[in-house]
Each structure stands twice: as structure tokens, then as C-alpha cells.
């Protein structure tokens, strides 16, 4: 809050738009769902662990319950048997909810163009950010998350209502 408090002076008042304030809150503590599928989940764990420290972005708290999560990082290949589960988890999340397709398999099934895989998780849930890589490096995941934050900062009040109808 360093920037804000310096602008406050000693009046204790700050003016901003509702959009900015809500989006600031949404990006500041976006709790991901504790949900891993395959190899990418291991890199997601590495991103949350010591070296890359995802808590810098207010994201260290993984919620095991979709009811408490804002973001679902689909980390790994989505198998046809797993697809209904992914959709159910997404449906259980409260709005606003965001989806990151982490890795080639979640984005487009990667090298596995075969009978077993859903060819990209966007066949099942709407995806906000795609991250390439097999698996993506932690830096790439962080970049994807920051891209999502950037996108959320540009959201407006009328878009929230659309999101509610989703």
C-alpha cells in the first residue's frame, strides 16, 4: 500500500474507480485450486515452493475446495475420463473464476493427438490464458499468471455481469 498511502497525504481519503479497487483486490489474492493432473503439476509445485515463491503474488494459499478458489490452473493432460471432473470442479467455483491452461497438453493436447486425450481443455471449460511448454518453466507460469492479472485489471463493471451469467 506504499503508493496509495503516499498519495493520501494526511487527509485519509483516496479517490479511485470501483473498477480499479475491485480489480486490485482480485489480483492481489487470487487463490488457486489445489489441482494437479500430470507433469505440469510438478512444475506448478516448484513454482509455489522455495525458489520461485508464488506467495509474492498472493497465491501461496492453494484451496483444496473449488468453492474457495478463484483460479483453476489445469496443469497437465486432460483425459476423457477426467474431463467431466474438470468441468464439475469449474462449475463448483464461485464467480469470478478464471482458468489457466498450463502446458501444451492442456492447451492443445501436445504430442498426444490420440483417442485418450481431450484435445485441449478449452473443449470443456473456457480458458483465459494459455501457457506453452512441455512442461512450462516456473517463469513461464508466473508470466501466465501476470498476463491474467493484466487482463483482470482491464475488466469493467459490465463485464462482471456477463461473468455472472456464464
Amino acid at each position: 500500500m506504499g503508493v496509495v498511502s503516499s498519495k493520501l497525504g494526511n487527509m485519509g481519503v483516496v479517490t479511485t474507480t470501483l473498477d480499479t479497487a475491485v480489480n486490485w483486490a482480485r489480483t492481489g489474492a487470487m487463490w488457486p485450486l489445489l489441482f494437479g493432473l500430470a507433469c505440469c503439476a510438478i512444475e506448478m509445485m516448484a513454482t509455489q515452493a522455495s525458489d520461485y515463491d508464488l506467495s509474492r503474488f498472493g497465491m501461496e494459499l492453494n484451496r483444496a475446495s473449488p468453492r474457495q478458489a478463484d483460479l483453476i490452473i489445469v496443469a497437465g493432460r486432460v483425459v476423457r475420463k477426467m474431463a467431466p471432473v474438470v468441468r464439475q470442479l469449474y462449475d463448483q467455483m464461485a464467480s469470478p473464476r478464471y482458468v489457466i491452461a498450463m502446458g501444451d497438453c492442456a492447451s492443445c493436447s501436445g504430442v498426444y493427438n490420440n483417442y485418450a486425450l481431450v484435445q485441449g481443455v478449452d473443449e470443456v471449460v473456457p480458458v483465459d490464458v494459455y501457457i506453452a511448454g512441455c512442461p512450462p518453466r516456473p517463469e513461464q507460469l508466473i508470466h501466465g499468471i501476470l498476463t491474467l492479472h493484466e487482463r483482470i485489471r482491464g475488466e469493467h463493471l459490465n463485464q462482471w455481469i456477463v461473468e455472472g451469467e456464464r
Binding site: 489441482f35 500430470a38 507433469c39 503439476a41 483444496a64 477426467m82 471432473v85 504430442v111 498426444y112 470443456v124
Partner: protein, 425 residues
């Protein structure tokens, strides 16, 4: 929102495909009769559960807190890797094997390459074998670190996870020096390894070997004599040696029950018979023994790494000279027409293997991983099948966990070190 509608329509179709419209009658014979009358409770654990190490689903029958039946349901990560390899040349198939057991990619590369080398009667130079051993033992430590971190976190020790991942990053950086990739290395190739070790690899390895014993002591000081840890692990998930063999356990899970079986000793490959190391054996066959054996194994791996490092000559062959199987060095392409032809042939149609079948098994961090390979005489395999330790361990989970409390199940699942990518493929 066109995209949204499209997505939800698809989800509807997929959900319909898998909607279970049966009754509890279908479970007759799988669960006890008491479950059918509602006397005991049926509980689903997974596939979305933080402690199932991936997407394992367990159907539990509970009498209060006690587990009466535990039915594992796998297939939530079935990727069709074996079928995909059938459509690829042998060299390209190596890339697919990485993604099976994603915590120990080099073991998968190794067993697939050993099968190819056995079938093609391909030689592997001494130096390449040493580099392979270094890669395999680093992989073992890497895999055990993830296992230790997640296993301890499941049982409530969060900080161990952060320490383990810190050391794991050192290994991943070394893998990146070797292969250019952190996790999916595809470094071990038929006839040797992809490229020679890079100049910064050996100093990094030496630093790791010197540092890691003290870090292992740190983990042990957090867990080994910790009364809370011992309470949660001792006497839980006990497997008798004969049961362990009958259930098909392998690796540390088998040795925890006191069976002395390590493929590195019993059927050595890649020169393991020339290294001096011990195979830790457990006494009680419980979760604690399986934990402690993996800690000791990491120390033994360090011993192997030290010996391998001492043997490594500054230069030498890192890949077979058999040009029908291994590509020529890049420098040769400018001088020799024959090298260009070999290069072209290998990267367009690959190499043929005879219409025969082989089976090779190695000791992966999890246990025995085997590769059955059937050639066609052409450049693609007819059938590739992997016998994977996680699959065997999951099948043993039911009998291992019966009679224990549901809270202990998390420890038992962690102690057999399963990776769902390995079991479902």
C-alpha cells in the same frame, strides 16, 4: 459468449458419456454385504484430492473410521502413450517415455533405450554408461525428494516440502545443463546419450554432492526421530515379506518389508556391478521403514555419484559409433558424404529393428520398471508395453490399507510412492 457455449455443450456430451446410472448392486462382491444394507459407509476419495498424488480415485468402505474395503480406480490419466509410440520411430519414441513417470524421466528413457539396444545388439561406450549412471542416480534423488516433500506434507509437515524443493531445483538445473530441459530431458538415447556433458555440469555436480549430505541430515532432524512423525508412520500399512512378493511390490516398497531385491544388484545394467553401494533393507514393512529406506537410498546414490564422477574422463565417446543407429557428430557432416547420408536416413526414417521381442527391466526410483518391445522389421515398433511399479503398487493398496484408520490411508498411499502417469500411461 460463443466460446462459453461451445465449451459447455462439449462438457455436457462428455458428462453424459461417463454418467454412472448403475446401482449399489453393481458393487456386490467388491464391497462387503454390510455396505449394501447401508451398515457401512461408502466414501469416494479423489480423483480430485490433494493426498492421492495425482488423479487416483479410491472407493472406500468405512466402518466408522476403519477401512473395510479400499477399491482403487485408475485411468484418470490414461494418455495412450504406448499406442502413440507405435506410430513413431524408435528415436522419437524416447520423447514419449519421459511423460510416463514424470518424476523419473531418465529411468523411462533408460529402460526404453536398453530394450532397443538389446534388440539391435548396439554397443554403448564406457563413458556414455557412466554419464547414464550419473543421470539415473540424480533422477533417483530428484524423485525421492518430491516423494519426501509431498509425503511429509500429507502427514502435516509443511516445511520439509519447501526444503526438498529447494534441493530439487539444484538437480533440475543440472538436468538443464545436460539436456536443455528441466524435467522432460530425453537425454538418454539409443546408443548413448544425446550430447556430451557441458563444462559447467561437473562443478555443479561436485557442489551438490558436497552439500547434499548435510541437507539430508536436516530432513532427518525434522522427521526421523520426531515423535509425531513416528506416531503417524510406525506400525501403519504393514506388509509381510511373502505378501509383498505376492502383491508384486518392488523397489523401496518391497525392500521396506525386508526382501533384498534390487535390480541394480540382481541383474546389473550400465555397469552397476562395478560400483560399490549398499541396498538398505527394512525390518517391519511399515510406512516408517519405507520412508527411512528412501532416505538411506539417497545417501547410497550419493556414493554412486561420487564414484561415477571419479571415473569420468575429460573426453571420450558419449554415443555409439554404430552409424546405423546413432547419428554422426555435427562436425563430421561437413567432411564426410557418408555421414550426411547416415544423418539424413536417421532423421527421416529412423533405424529398423528385427521382428523379435525383448523384455528389459531396470530399477527406477519407484521399483522395477520393465519394457516389452516387439519390432516389425521396420522403423516402428509393433507393440511397446511398460510394466510399471506404480500400477503394481496401486493394486496392492487395497490389501495394504484394510483394517487401518482412514487418516492412515494418506500415509500408506504416500509410502508406496505412486505416480499416476506411471500407472495409467
Amino acid at each position: 459468449m460463443a466460446i462459453t457455449n461451445y465449451a459447455s455443450q462439449n462438457a455436457g456430451a462428455l458428462a453424459q458419456e461417463s454418467t454412472w446410472e448403475g446401482s449399489v448392486e453393481e458393487l456386490r462382491g467388491l464391497v462387503s454385504e454390510r455396505a449394501l444394507t447401508g451398515e457401512t459407509m461408502l466414501l469416494n476419495l479423489g480423483p480430485h484430492h490433494p493426498s492421492t498424488h495425482g488423479v487416483l480415485r479410491l472407493l472406500l468402505e468405512l466402518d466408522g473410521e476403519e477401512i473395510v474395503t479400499c477399491l482403487p480406480d485408475i485411468g484418470y490419466l490414461h494418455t495412450g502413450i504406448e499406442k502413440t509410440i507405435e506410430a513413431k520411430t524408435y528415436e522419437k519414441g524416447v520423447t514419449c517415455t519421459d511423460r510416463m513417470d514424470y518424476l523419473s524421466p531418465m529411468s523411462n528413457n533408460m529402460v526404453f533405450c536398453l530394450a532397443i539396444e538389446k534388440m539391435g545388439e548396439l554397443d554403448v561406450p564406457e563413458r556414455a554408461q557412466i554419464i547414464r549412471v550419473i543421470g539415473l542416480e540424480l533422477t533417483r534423488i530428484n524423485s525421492h525428494l518430491v516423494w519426501l516433500g509431498t509425503h511429509a506434507m500429507d502427514l502435516g509437515a509443511m516445511s520439509v516440502f519447501l526444503y526438498c524443493m529447494r534441493e530439487r531445483e539444484m538437480i533440475l538445473e543440472m538436468f538443464e545443463m545436460l539436456s536443455g530441459q528441466r524435467m522432460m530431458t530425453s537425454y538418454i538415447r539409443p546408443g548413448g546419450v544425446w550430447r556430451d556433458i557441458t563444462p559447467d555440469f561437473l562443478p555443479a555436480l561436485e557442489q551438490f554432492i558436497n552439500l547434499f549430505p548435510s541437507r539430508l541430515d536436516d530432513y532427518e532432524s525434522l522427521l526421523t526421530d520426531n515423535p509425531l512423525w513416528r506416531d503417524r508412520t510406525e506400525g501403519i500399512g504393514v506388509v509381510e515379506p511373502e505378501d509383498a512378493l505376492a502383491l508384486g511390490l518392488s523397489g523401496p516398497s518391497l525392500r521396506g518389508s525386508g526382501v533384498n531385491w534390487d535390480i541394480r544388484k540382481a541383474m546389473p545394467y550400465s555397469g552397476y556391478e562395478t560400483y560399490d553401494f549398499n541396498v538398505p533393507i527394512g525390518l517391519h514393512g511399515d510406512v516408517y521403514d519405507r520412508f527411512y529406506i528412501r532416505i538411506l537410498e539417497m545417501r547410497e546414490s550419493l556414493k554412486i555419484l561420487r564414484q561415477a564422477m571419479a571415473r569420468l574422463t575429460p573426453t571420450g565417446e558419449f554415443r555409439s559409433n554404430n552409424r546405423k543407429f546413432a547419428p554422426p557428430p555435427r562436425a563430421e557432416l561437413g567432411r564426410s558424404m557418408e555421414a550426411v547420408i547416415h544423418h539424413f536416413k536417421l532423421w527421416t526414417e529412423g533405424f529398423p529393428l528385427p521382428d523379435e521381442e525383448v523384455y528389459v527391466a531396470i530399477e527406477s526410483p519407484r521399483g522395477e520398471i520393465g519394457c516389452y518391445l516387439h519390432g516389425t522389421g521396420g522403423n516402428k515398433p509393433r507393440r511397446v508395453h511398460f510394466k510399471t511399479p506404480s500400477f503394481m503398487h496401486i493394486s496392492a493398496l487395497g490389501s495394504m490399507s484394510e483394517g487401518y484408520m482412514i487418516a492412515d490411508l494418506v500415509g500408506i498411499v504416500g509410502s508406496i510412492d505412486i505416480v499416476l502417469g506411471d500407472s495409467d500411461r
